[in-house]
């Protein structure tokens, strides 16, 4: 949660000086000063809260569910097949690419790479280029392998059963709760 927290703070701080309302405070930051206005504080709080809420909602929707079932659900919701296919391939090969990049960096470090400021930049650039080349070559190989296995532009789709009554009840309760929260809080700060 450190990265979303930092993003939320950045989104809030970026809006603190929005014009409108009274000036609440002037915060000195080194040679500069951030003027906090009433409208800015409101907009900043809302932006920060939105970042945190979106991360929390995404985590709650994906916690304890396999990526395959989520992607199947996305197809069921008529998300374009190309997007779902891309997402599934990305998910499949993301960890492999990360391992490959880590292996490259480890090999460079064992050969006295990353030993100074400019050398570190050069090593990082070389590692990035090598990782890109390997990913590209792997992509070509995977495409050939898929063609050999009868791929014709679309991955086979799993037929999902109808939603059971309990699942529909979950959906209805969730939507009612959500509508209740939004309605109760409309007009609040």
């Amino acid at each position: 949660m450190a990265l979303p927290g930092a993003l939320a703070v950045a989104a809030a701080v970026a809006r603190l000086s929005w014009p409108g309302g009274q000036v609440l405070a002037v915060l000195p930051v080194g040679p500069w000063a951030i003027t906090v206005t009433e409208a800015g504080l409101r907009a900043g709080t809302l932006a920060g809260a939105r970042v945190l809420a979106m991360v929390a909602v995404v985590l709650a929707s994906t916690a304890g569910v396999s990526a395959a079932s989520l992607l199947g659900a996305a197809r069921w919701l008529h998300v374009p097949a190309t997007l779902v296919e891309l997402a599934s391939l990305m998910y499949r090969y993301l960890f492999l690419l990360r391992e490959e990049a880590q292996a490259i960096v480890r090999a460079q470090s064992m050969r006295l790479g990353y030993a100074g400021g400019m050398q570190s930049v050069r090593c990082a650039a070389a590692a990035g280029a090598l990782a890109f080349l390997r990913a590209y070559e792997r992509g070509v190989r995977i495409h050939h392998a898929m063609l050999l296995r009868g791929y014709q532009g679309e991955l086979p789709e799993e037929r999902l059963p109808r939603l059971e009554r309990q699942q529909l009840a979950y959906l209805a309760i969730g939507l009612v709760l959500l509508a209740g929260v939004v309605r109760a809080g409309s007009g609040a700060y």
Binding site: R50, A53, G64, L77, L171, V181, G185
Partner: protein, 72 residues
């Protein structure tokens, strides 16, 4: 313990991925549209509790799971 968790799973089956996705989209829409920080923070709190509960549920089912005893 295992019997209890089986009965609980029968009464409250785990949420289907489609329902999760629909509810997640609705919640994201509400967060994007709502102009109130309190509403947005309430949705964030509710979602955090839901993901913690999902984690606890997975953990408890792992604890409840046992290998069948070998027959003699």
């Amino acid at each position: 313990m295992r019997e209890g968790s089986t009965i609980r799973a029968r009464i409250f089956p785990p949420m289907d991925a489609r329902v999760r996705l629909l509810l997640g989209c609705a919640a994201l829409g509400a967060v994007a549209v709502s102009g109130s920080a309190i509403v947005v923070l309430s949705i964030a709190t509710f979602a955090t509790i839901a993901s913690l509960a999902a984690g606890l549920s997975v953990g408890s089912s792992l604890v409840a799971w046992r290998c069948p005893e070998p027959s003699r």
